[in-house]
């Protein structure tokens, strides 16, 4: 058992940190990229930074070399995710590379993988996964968007929402209820007739969209008519683990920012760190962070291990996100409170960290959702043994 990164992984971390810090260490740059107020125009990120991430190979990390990737794994993805989290870079690394890209890599035909994953890795094509539906709560299946088949032609009907970065995506990967049960996956060219996309801002300045599909012709992703429920669940699991690493990066910086503020901000003629009521709360934030970091790193290792099965990976992702989600609420709330009024302003960074951490819960399920799943299984084993 080994929690340390090797030389190559450390070099990757340094490179990713260097690029993302250059882009976003000035928080004003992030504000420009995401827009201000309720403005939901634009892609919600900086396409130039996205291009640099592609050039550095970050978008190619999890994909095989045959598909145009570099054949790295969950550890490397986690390293980059943590760096994305440290500056809450608005680029859709998580939803596009890990979630949508991971799903295409898992179920697409050779040709589809080459085109979509290859395009994504090169920074030339941005796919989005249109899976959530109004009323759904993180289930891996589709219900209200349905697929019908006529010969070789598949047609989709219904509304997908919220679709992360769905309004500007070059390609939609859409899940839909199959005629004979199960959930199929399809690709949809968003420019075809019958696709209506309405984009808006998410709470952290990201973007999501309603995607209305009215008799849209779609191409099956992978084998036509095959049930992709498990693949969707697995891709969300991988996304949860990467998101856990991203959240750890964000929580670390939220805590560091808070500690710095307690040292520099004076009230009653003394630095805030004079008040134990505040420093003890910062200490508790550190406890939450370190416990969350341990589970995030462990889940990453479970995903990367050749000897774990799908059920073990599912459980690890559930455990990791249940813990990280709880820590994110705690650290996010306290970071704002320990700052005082400046913490709720848009021009100061710390509140946006809290907003982003909250947004991840909406995407991946909150701690109640995941603890509920764990609670239903507690009778099935005696102890949790983390060592493989």
């Amino acid at each position: 058992m080994d929690f340390t990164y090797d030389e190559e992984q450390l070099a990757l971390r340094d490179a990713a940190r260097s690029l993302l810090t250059k882009s976003y260490s000035d928080f004003e740059n992030r504000r420009k990229a995401v827009g201000t107020g309720h403005d939901g125009d634009g892609p919600g990120y900086d396409p130039a930074v996205w291009g640099q991430m592609a050039e550095m190979g970050l978008l190619a990390l999890p994909f095989s070399e045959e598909d145009g990737g570099v054949g790295a794994g969950p550890v490397e993805v986690g390293i980059v995710a943590e760096e994305v989290g440290r500056v809450i870079a608005p680029e859709p690394f998580l939803t596009t590379v890990v979630l949508a890209g991971g799903l295409v890599a898992a179920v697409g035909t050779d040709e589809q993988r080459g085109e979509i994953v290859g395009g994504l890795a090169a920074g030339e094509l941005v796919p989005a996964l249109a899976h959530a539906e109004p009323g759904s709560r993180w289930q891996p299946s589709a219900r209200t968007v349905s697929a019908t088949q006529d010969g070789d032609t598949w047609t989709l009907e219904g509304v997908k929402e919220p679709v992360p970065y769905g309004a500007t995506a070059d390609l939609l990967v859409v899940s839909a209820a199959l005629p004979d049960g199960g959930t199929g996956l399809f690709t949809v060219d968003p420019s075809v007739d019958g696709v209506e996309r309405t984009g808006y801002r998410t709470p952290d300045g990201g973007r999501a969209a309603r995607v209305r599909l009215s008799g849209v012709t779609a191409t099956p992703l992978g084998e036509a008519g095959a049930d992709a429920t498990e693949a969707i669940a697995a891709s969300y699991d991988a996304t949860r683990v990467a998101a856990a690493q991203e959240a750890v990066g964000a929580m670390q910086v939220a805590l560091d920012t808070t500690s710095d503020y307690l040292k520099s901000r004076k009230q009653f003629g003394v630095p805030l760190k004079t008040f134990q009521a505040l420093t003890f709360r910062a200490a508790d934030m550190y406890v939450s962070l370190e416990l969350a970091r341990s589970l995030a790193q462990w889940a990453t290792m479970v995903l990367a291990s050749p000897s774990t099965d799908a059920a073990e990976r599912r459980t690890a992702a559930t455990r990791a996100w249940a813990q990280v989600s709880r820590a994110a609420r705690h650290i996010g709330q306290e970071a704002i409170q320990l700052h005082g009024g400046i913490g709720v302003t848009a021009e100061y960074s710390v509140g946006s960290y809290t907003a982003h951490l909250t947004t991840l819960d909406h995407l991946l399920g909150d701690s109640r959702h995941h603890l509920g799943a764990l609670a239903r299984g507690v009778a099935d084993y005696d102890v949790v043994d983390p060592i493989g």
């Binding site: 290792m301 000897s307 949790v384």
Partner: protein, 393 residues
């Protein structure tokens, strides 16, 4: 990064698991499993079983019985022991004074004390805290005044756990009252059969007699029993307390109690139709949450041991005591709630009560474990350490 143990470590774990589950007397493991009180004989017997197998002092210098294990192997040893409901070796001997004597003692002191300490031929007690020196340990007042070849000790120590069994006591005493408080302290080893040593029991809220006051009235202690230099006792104290903090997260035993709690909850029917307490979603969710927090704690302990190899503790080690005691208490509270009305039976025995032993022990154990967030540096002291040394506040 790698999830799996190396082949060597996996073999190491299997061998220890085999030993702990087959070679330690069953009567001892049963009491530990049922959260009962061990007799002195059981504690000594269990300790010596470990020592004979080279498993009592693996972290000591090799010369004195240490095994030169990696930090990960020491962690596995500690976890497997607790998992098997084996009582760990007596901490006063093996974690506290033994390493101090090995590090700071004279060759004579090492030869005189270390083998007997390892084998529990000497039962050590701890004489640190005083009525006016708790978290503020350095303000201790028990005095030692030089008289010829002896020190004359006067004062009072308190919270001396299992002092009623003690043969010797390692103490911090004030040898210079006129300097900064940390600079006037020395460490003295005192034979508890010396004239003037008196042990008085303190009854705790669980009804048990676990801790004591130890009074010293003109106790004559040979100068050769001083450990290290005169007035260097604070150095030895910090060394000892640092060791104490690292081994203080009782993950394995809390995991075991939580697993037992599931069995107890599953055996507790709440309805004529056979519904059990484990079917109650509120109970199940508390268990799920505690299991996940314990997992996070265990993984943090593994991270810390893996990164402390250069001898310097990983900063996250301060999390272990704080969170470990909180979870230990939370699990003991869950057991209280699972016991329900049967918790009233604390005074019963297997002769006088039809209630299960775990039900009768639930509340005394819970009350007793309130100590966990107080000893070894209270959790408020731990927060102070985190805020000060890690966050720079």
């Amino acid at each position: 990064m790698q999830l799996e143990l190396s082949d060597d470590d996996a073999t190491f774990r299997d061998e220890l698991r085999e030993f702990f589950t087959t070679k330690v007397d069953e009567d001892i493991r049963t009491v530990v499993r049922e959260r009962g009180e061990l007799t002195k004989d059981q504690i000594v017997r269990g300790h010596r079983t470990l020592n004979e197998a080279g498993l009592a002092v693996p972290h000591w210098p090799v010369e004195w019985g240490g095994r030169d294990w990696t930090p990960l192997q020491r962690h596995i040893w500690h976890e497997e022991m607790q998992r098997a409901a084996v009582l760990p070796p007596l901490a006063f001997n093996t974690s506290m004074i033994g390493p101090v004597i090995a590090q700071f003692g004279t060759q004579e002191q090492k030869e005189r004390f270390l083998p007997k300490t390892a084998n529990l031929d000497i039962w050590w007690s701890q004489g640190f805290s005083e009525p006016d020196a708790g978290s503020d340990l350095a303000s201790l007042r028990t005095s030692a005044v030089r008289d010829g070849d002896d020190w004359i000790v006067n004062g009072q120590k308190t919270w001396t756990t299992l002092g009623q069994y003690g043969d010797w006591i390692f103490t911090l005493v004030r040898t210079d009252p006129d300097v900064k408080k940390q600079a006037g302290i020395s460490m003295l080893l005192i034979d508890m059969t010396s004239p003037g040593v008196e042990v008085r029991p303190i009854e705790l809220i669980d009804g048990g007699h676990e801790v004591n006051e130890v009074w010293f009235s003109d106790v004559r202690v040979p100068a050769e029993n001083l450990v290290g230099e005169v007035n260097s006792g604070w150095t030895q104290a910090k060394f000892l307390l640092g060791n104490e903090r690292v081994g203080v997260a009782p993950v394995g035993s809390v995991k075991r109690v939580l697993a037992q709690t599931k069995e107890w909850a599953a055996a507790t029917t709440t309805d004529a139709d056979g519904t059990t307490l484990l079917d109650d979603p509120l109970v199940a969710s508390r268990i799920a949450e505690l299991e996940n927090e314990l997992l996070a704690l265990e993984l943090t302990a593994l991270r810390v041991v893996a990164n402390s190899a250069d001898g310097k503790p990983h900063p996250a080690s301060s999390v272990l005591k704080l969170k470990g005691s909180e979870l230990q208490q939370a699990v003991s509270e869950l057991v209280v709630d699972v016991a329900g009305p049967a918790g009233l039976g604390s005074g019963g025995t297997s002769e006088t009560s039809d209630l299960e032993q775990w039900q009768r022990r639930a509340t005394p154990a819970y009350l007793n474990l309130r100590k966990a967030s107080i000893y070894g540096g209270s959790n408020e002291v731990q927060r102070q350490i985190i805020a000060g040394t890690i966050l720079g506040l």
